[in-house]
């Protein structure tokens, strides 16, 4: 079992529905977010190219945040999901400093918070909130070990990339390009 997500940068329109769905589903405090949209503009007028990316925690295989955590609050759940146990977290910020994707933030209550792939939904067999609300259906989620899952099919058929592969984290959010 290895959960992963593939996001189609050609279909994404940057509507931010995934962001709002996540904030609602996970009770994210106002002013914070666990996922966000980045717009990349490349080139110079009139030869411009735009890429829209819905970004979040990459649930890395070689997760630096889990390695650096002094208490073991950051840990890897079954299926490769990186989570934080809030009653073990001391709010030292080591994981925030070690994440190349800046996917973590300090919750106003003090502990560190981040995307969980909506683990509470996964255990019920549902998809993460962001995936299930996406109006353009540009996000594919599933088990990489299952070759018939949405994400495996999408990755098999399309060219894709990951963010900052040079950081050596083996991320599991793929962008179809």
């Amino acid at each position: 079992m290895r959960y992963a997500m593939a996001i189609d940068t050609k279909k994404c329109v940057g509507c931010s529905d995934c962001v709002v769905a996540c904030q609602t589903e996970n009770d994210v405090p106002i002013g914070f977010c666990r996922d966000w949209i980045v717009e990349v503009m490349d080139g110079s007028y009139p030869n411009l190219e735009m890429e829209l990316r819905s970004e979040r925690c990459n649930h890395c295989d070689n997760a630096p945040c889990v390695r650096c955590c002094p208490t073991g609050a950051s840990h890897i759940e079954e299926g490769g999901v990186v989570k934080v146990k809030k009653h073990r977290c001391i709010g030292c910020g080591a994981c925030i400093q070690s994440c190349p994707y800046d996917a973590r933030y300090s919750h106003p209550e003090g502990y560190v918070d981040k995307c969980t792939f909506c683990y509470h939904r996964l255990v019920k067999g549902e998809k993460p909130a962001c995936v299930s609300v996406c109006p353009t259906k540009c996000m594919y989620f599933g088990d990489l070990d299952d070759e018939n899952s949405d994400v495996s099919i999408a990755l098999r058929n399309r060219k894709h990339k990951v963010l900052a592969p040079e950081a050596g984290t083996k991320p599991h959010i793929f962008y179809l390009i």
């Binding site: 931010s16 717009e39 503009m41 390695r67 955590c69 933030y105």
Partner: protein, 330 residues
């Protein structure tokens, strides 16, 4: 041209636009930790070499600074925590992969050791403590009486003195770990290219030893002790300069993110701060002054000592601040 924007509004204070989640507390701790590590190292070194008589400041008097330095350092680390009431979770587990975890355990071991060490010289300190009028200070008289009444304290101190070599070995070992840990704490974060170099551990260790040497020099009243420590300090400054040059050679020969990180110091916003305040005023100038002093010129030892301490503090502030700007994305 390439432009990347957060279009969904990622209003995370202290993360965007820079990742400065760490503020003054961390560099202050790194400075005090390095200083304490160095003082303990010198005290233990001269005890094991059997030079307690020749180096009284290094072995005895300077070590009285260590417990307060460590306590203040720990306090500033505690102030940095965002989930403060859960700090005890650090001591429920030992995670060797996480430098912060074994650093926390090292501090738990070395703080009591440093208190035990300075306890050995408490009586001597109290006896030498004179008021302005030349008579023993009232506080000292009272404390000495208290010691007389409680003979078990005296017996415990005698027992410590008997086993001081064991304490010294522990102090050398844990002192070096503490000193190198102040650098490894930062170098373990691969997402911050400026920190992500294994040279940071040795560099912070040497810098910590040098600040400790400066403190001993400043406190010492013995000419021979001062010149011995001054020679050691000159050597440490030499090693530090060598490591700094290698740090930048390493960055410039590395990947794009590390070249960018180095450029913050090579023409970027931290250039003056680093090369003028850290390298010139904190290393080269005190080295020149110390050399002149060793050659026989009259230079108050306070000046190079303050310069070294100030340079060491600025060095840690610059590294922590600048490191948090360096990143992989956006």
């Amino acid at each position: 041209m390439k432009e990347e924007l957060f279009v969904s509004g990622r209003a995370i204070p202290n993360i965007d636009p820079y990742l400065n989640i760490w503020h003054w507390q961390i560099p202050v701790y790194l400075f005090l930790g390095g200083l304490a590590a160095g003082l303990l190292f010198f005290a233990a070194l001269y005890t094991l070499l059997g030079k307690e008589k020749q180096m009284p400041t290094a072995v005895k008097w300077a070590t009285f600074l260590v417990p307060p330095a460590l306590v203040l350092g720990l306090l500033s680390l505690f102030l940095d925590l965002k989930h403060k009431m859960f700090f005890w979770q650090l001591y429920t587990v030992i995670r060797l992969e996480s430098p912060m975890s074994w650093g926390a355990w090292t501090l738990l071991i070395i703080t009591p050791i440093s208190i035990l060490w300075s306890m050995m010289f408490l009586r001597e300190l109290l006896e030498a403590w004179k008021g302005k009028d030349g008579k023993p200070a009232p506080m000292a008289v009272w404390s000495l009486k208290f010691l007389e009444k409680n003979q078990w304290i005296e017996q415990f101190i005698q027992w410590l003195v008997k086993y001081r070599k064991v304490l010294a070995w522990l102090m050398i070992y844990y002192g070096l770990i503490l000193g190198i840990y102040t650098g490894i704490l930062l170098s373990a974060f691969n997402a911050r290219p400026l920190w992500n170099t294994s040279l940071l551990g040795p560099l912070f260790l040497v810098s910590g030893l040098s600040t400790a040497a400066a403190t001993i020099m400043w406190m010492s009243k013995d000419h021979l002790e001062r010149s011995t420590i001054s020679r050691i300090d000159l050597m440490l400054i030499g090693i530090e300069l060598f490591l700094i040059v290698h740090l930048f050679m390493g960055f410039l020969a590395s990947s794009a993110v590390q070249i960018e990180a180095a450029s913050l110091f090579l023409g970027g916003p931290y250039t003056v701060m680093f090369w003028v305040f850290v390298v010139f005023m904190g290393l080269i100038l005190p080295a020149i002054l110390e050399t002149l002093e060793l050659l026989g010129y009259k230079i108050p030892v306070m000046i190079p000592a303050i310069l070294i301490l100030f340079g060491g503090l600025v060095f840690r502030f610059v590294m922590v601040e600048a490191g948090q700007i360096t990143r992989y994305l956006y």
